[in-house]
Symmetry: C2
Subunit: 356 residues, 2 copies
């Protein structure tokens, strides 16, 4: 019998906020059927995978907008795009030398329970000592790599530098700040949206200071936390936070512009009004996309895995229960800062076997 597969389809353009309802909201549920790989063979050049954890990423809101960007928008009517951690269920005839059932992969599956993927869409995961399969889509995956290249190639912290990271308790920010510290930055300051997150940054990750941008006096706190101004700013947030950090930019500061989560749902995005500082302090602001550094991924992953195993790099996951249909609301919550660490939706627990 065929495999019943539930999917989340991108149905309606957000206007501008995502509506998480599966009944006439931004997304809708759909059910298809797939060959089950037992009494129905799968295509010879595909693997059948079962999705366990969906990656939720700030960039997703941008994918729903038909603007010129680094990646084509998701087409309405198609499965919502996204990475996942999945397990191989069945292997097509051409791929039996590459995959075996039970192996973990980073899957370009989109938001669905199962997927038939080509070899490029299912990257086998090597779980390092002390690691978990899900690390491959966070600290040892896209968010870790984004932090690595943004901090080291764009930010280029030098010994003695003050480094500030916004969205510092998010999957990318927490790694970015720790890398700055590993590389000898004098002072690493995180900006985050709650007292708990700030505690986490200082007490668990070793940031030198953290500022809760929801405090009324956060700009004053930021000033006090950066007495020698800001040499490197790793920005995930944009808007008012970018603005405040520009106002604190040191001479020749490097601003690595990774994201602008505060602006993604804005009908009219806001740019930095402290822009004069770019001139007076000779600031370099550079946007970057992790894909551009693909040739250096293996070196970076090696560094990240080493630091992880040495305990120099810590990570945290924020796992949302509730299965596939929890994803739309979780995405909305991501933009509201609900997560500390990598946010993912548990479609099926690691230990749960596939229903075939």
């Amino acid at each position: 019998m065929s495999l019943s597969n539930r999917q989340i389809i991108y149905a309606n353009t957000p206007s501008p906020a995502i509506n998480p309802s599966l009944d006439n909201g931004t997304f809708k549920l759909n059910t298809t059927s797939l060959p089950n790989g037992r009494n129905e063979s799968i295509p010879q050049d595909k693997v059948l995978v079962r999705v366990h954890y969906l990656s939720l990423d700030p960039a997703m809101r941008q994918w729903l907008t038909a603007k010129r960007s680094y990646i084509a928008p998701v087409e309405r009517g198609s499965v919502m795009r996204g990475q996942s951690i999945a397990q191989v269920v069945a292997v097509g005839a051409d791929l039996t030398s590459q995959y075996a059932a039970g192996e973990w992969v980073v899957a370009y599956s989109g938001w669905q329970e199962y997927a038939l993927l080509g070899a490029k869409e299912a990257q086998k995961v090597t779980v390092p000592a002390g690691g978990r399969p899900t690390d491959a889509m966070s600290v040892l995956g896209m968010t870790g790599l984004t932090a690595y290249f943004g901090m080291l190639e764009v930010g280029q912290p030098q010994p003695g530098n003050t480094v500030v990271v916004s969205g510092a308790a998010g999957a990318t920010g927490m790694v970015a700040g720790q890398i700055a510290k590993i590389k000898g930055a004098k002072r690493v300051v995180g900006l985050a949206g709650s007292a708990d997150k700030c505690d986490f940054l200082v007490k668990e990750l070793g940031f030198d200071a953290a500022v809760n941008y929801k405090d009324a006096d956060w700009k004053k706190q930021l000033k006090e936390a950066t007495p020698e101004y800001i040499d490197v700013f790793f920005d995930n947030v944009g808007g008012e936070i970018l603005d405040a950090c520009l106002a604190r930019a040191a001479r020749d500061a490097r601003f690595a512009i990774c994201g602008a989560i505060s602006q993604y749902n804005a009908a009219k995005p806001q740019g930095p009004s402290s822009f004069m500082t770019v001139i007076s302090q000779r600031v370099t602001m550079k946007g970057f996309i992790v894909f551009d550094y693909a040739k250096k991924y293996s070196t970076a992953l090696n560094d990240l895995a080493t630091w992880l195993s040495q305990g120099k790099l810590k990570r945290r996951e924020h796992i949302v229960p509730g299965g596939l249909e929890a994803a739309p609301q979780a995405l909305v919550n991501l933009y509201e800062g609900a997560n500390t660490g990598k946010m993912m939706v548990e479609v099926a627990p690691v230990e749960e076997k596939a229903r075939l």
Copy 2:
């Protein structure tokens, strides 16, 4: 008898616009007396110069604001800061081997008719073949150098590139655009504020296209003028123009942020709202100040003088008559885009001898 010297003093903080009235406005007139260098000797380490042409520069508005900047603000009650082209009238005993009466200098005189200057404040001018003394404060001076380093060190145009310059008919912009063309840019487009300026850019300076940003459909014109998007943007204007150019940024574009004349008088400056493009197109925006390239001035001046003598580089002056007291209104007019080319106030014509 002593030399009567009229000065313009910075009197009142603009709020936020400059008030050009000399009666309770931003500036006021003052008269002092100086030793005349004949029957009253001047200090041994000074030269007495007579100012002929005051330089008017967009940066001046910033100098009147007590914000952290690349240069200390002008103090209220002191002579307004500014370069001038001046002629040596008398030479102190220690400097007779360096200066002679009648020589032209670029003077850090401020806005006054005469000044007693140290050797660092009076740089002798070598007028090249076909040149004029005033070139030393425009195409062969600060504005030319600013264009040179901003375009070549920050913008780095490559053959095949599309280069856009804002404030293109200003002293810096017109040189920046021509340098891009000299260096092999495929397409150089100027943004300016009148049809006459646009004609000048295309017909006299050889720009490939020019867009009048006061036209209602200027954004559409800009789009049509940049069919392959913008690789290098040399920005003198900021605000809405920077925003429109960001929206047209090509992949890996370099934005050389030289100035933001549209924002200098704004109570609440506006940053670019198309900021998302910085990420999606991996744009580098870099602010710069010409002073940082001081070690390379001589190479740059040599290039600029060569291009000028070869006819590859054209320049234009916008000379405001009316003497010293015309300066405040001329400065206001500068921010309104009154000038094509280097704006300067004629305190005394070149040929006029000093009254001593």
